[in-house]
């Protein structure tokens, strides 16, 4: 098992979250910042809708 500091995973607090574009449930491409349009947001990483 690798040792991981969970606080250090992913982009750091205080930095700008990198924009990304991914397909939504209907298959249309959606970009984080395009959708946010200057609003606050929660970006939640979840393992799967299946299990």
């Amino acid at each position: 098992m690798t040792t991981v500091d969970y606080a250090e995973i992913g982009p750091a607090v205080g930095g700008i979250f990198p924009d990304f574009e991914l397909p939504d449930a209907n298959g249309s491409q959606l970009s984080l910042n395009g959708w946010r349009a200057g609003r606050r947001a929660l970006v939640v990483f979840y393992r799967s809708a299946r299990w």
Binding site: T2, V4, F17, P18, A25, F45
Partner: protein, 240 residues
């Protein structure tokens, strides 16, 4: 898959699909400890399960800056939605689970959960609220000898994980002729207890039993110590 899931669950926010785990890999969120996590839960790691992200939640401000990062170690553990919205965005819950109540001398006791249903392994909360008659108080700790402090006891049961209760600040209180300082609660007291229900799928509904003990006093007299038991039913959220 996602469309059906969103429709079944009534999800209005976008659900994105990171095929090939490209974005989570770029962000450094790909779970590299999956096999160890599976071992901790005694389940084998199957091929389709590789490529999942650490359970991470990022709170972004208006400018896209990361205001908070909330990461759980195990992929199963989750913060409940009600708590997440409240803690991360300061959005109060529009609703909570149904309230159970009991009357005790000078104090009405009620309890509810964040929701009437539970998601296995997801953190959620129980709330116990004491409404104390005006001019009366109940004791916190330390308690004067012979008095009963307010205590909450959740009956242990298999799979029920109970965290440290969060009490509101108590008011310092002096009793005439006694040197020591005591602490009392007055008015409305709201105690929050983090819980999680760590059970296998199909476990079914869960009944959480809370016993609340206290003793109400005013400046001149005390009620006898009293006890109320409240039962909070939580329904299992079926798998997607």
């Amino acid at each position: 898959m996602l469309r059906e899931f969103a429709q079944t669950k009534g999800i209005a926010f976008p659900l994105l699909s990171d095929q090939g785990s490209r974005v989570i890999t770029e962000l450094g969120l790909l779970d590299r400890d999956l096999a160890a996590h599976h071992a901790a839960f005694n389940v084998p790691t199957g091929d389709p399960q590789w490529g999942v992200a650490y359970p991470a939640v990022f709170v972004l401000d208006e400018g896209g800056r990361i205001a908070q990062k909330r990461i759980q170690e195990h992929y199963r553990a989750r913060e409940g939605a009600v708590q997440l919205l409240e803690d991360a965005l300061g959005v109060g819950a529009a609703s909570h689970g149904q309230t159970q109540t009991a009357s005790t001398p000078r104090v009405r006791v009620s309890a509810f959960a964040d929701s009437d249903s539970y998601v296995r392994w997801q953190n959620t909360r129980l709330h116990v609220v004491l409404d104390i008659d005006s001019g009366w108080h109940v004791y916190g700790r330390p308690v004067p000898t012979g008095y009963t402090p307010m205590t909450l006891v959740i009956e242990p049961q298999s799979g029920l994980q109970v965290g440290e209760p969060l009490y509101p600040p108590a008011r310092p209180f002096k009793i005439e002729r006694l040197e020591d300082q005591f602490f009392v609660y007055e008015g409305q007291v709201h105690v929050t207890i983090p819980i999680a229900i760590n059970v296998l799928a199909g476990h079914g509904d869960v009944m959480v039993r809370i016993t609340i003990r206290h003793q109400a006093c005013n400046e001149v007299e005390c009620m006898p110590p009293s006890e109320a038991e409240l039962e909070i039913p939580l329904q299992e959220t079926p798998a997607a």
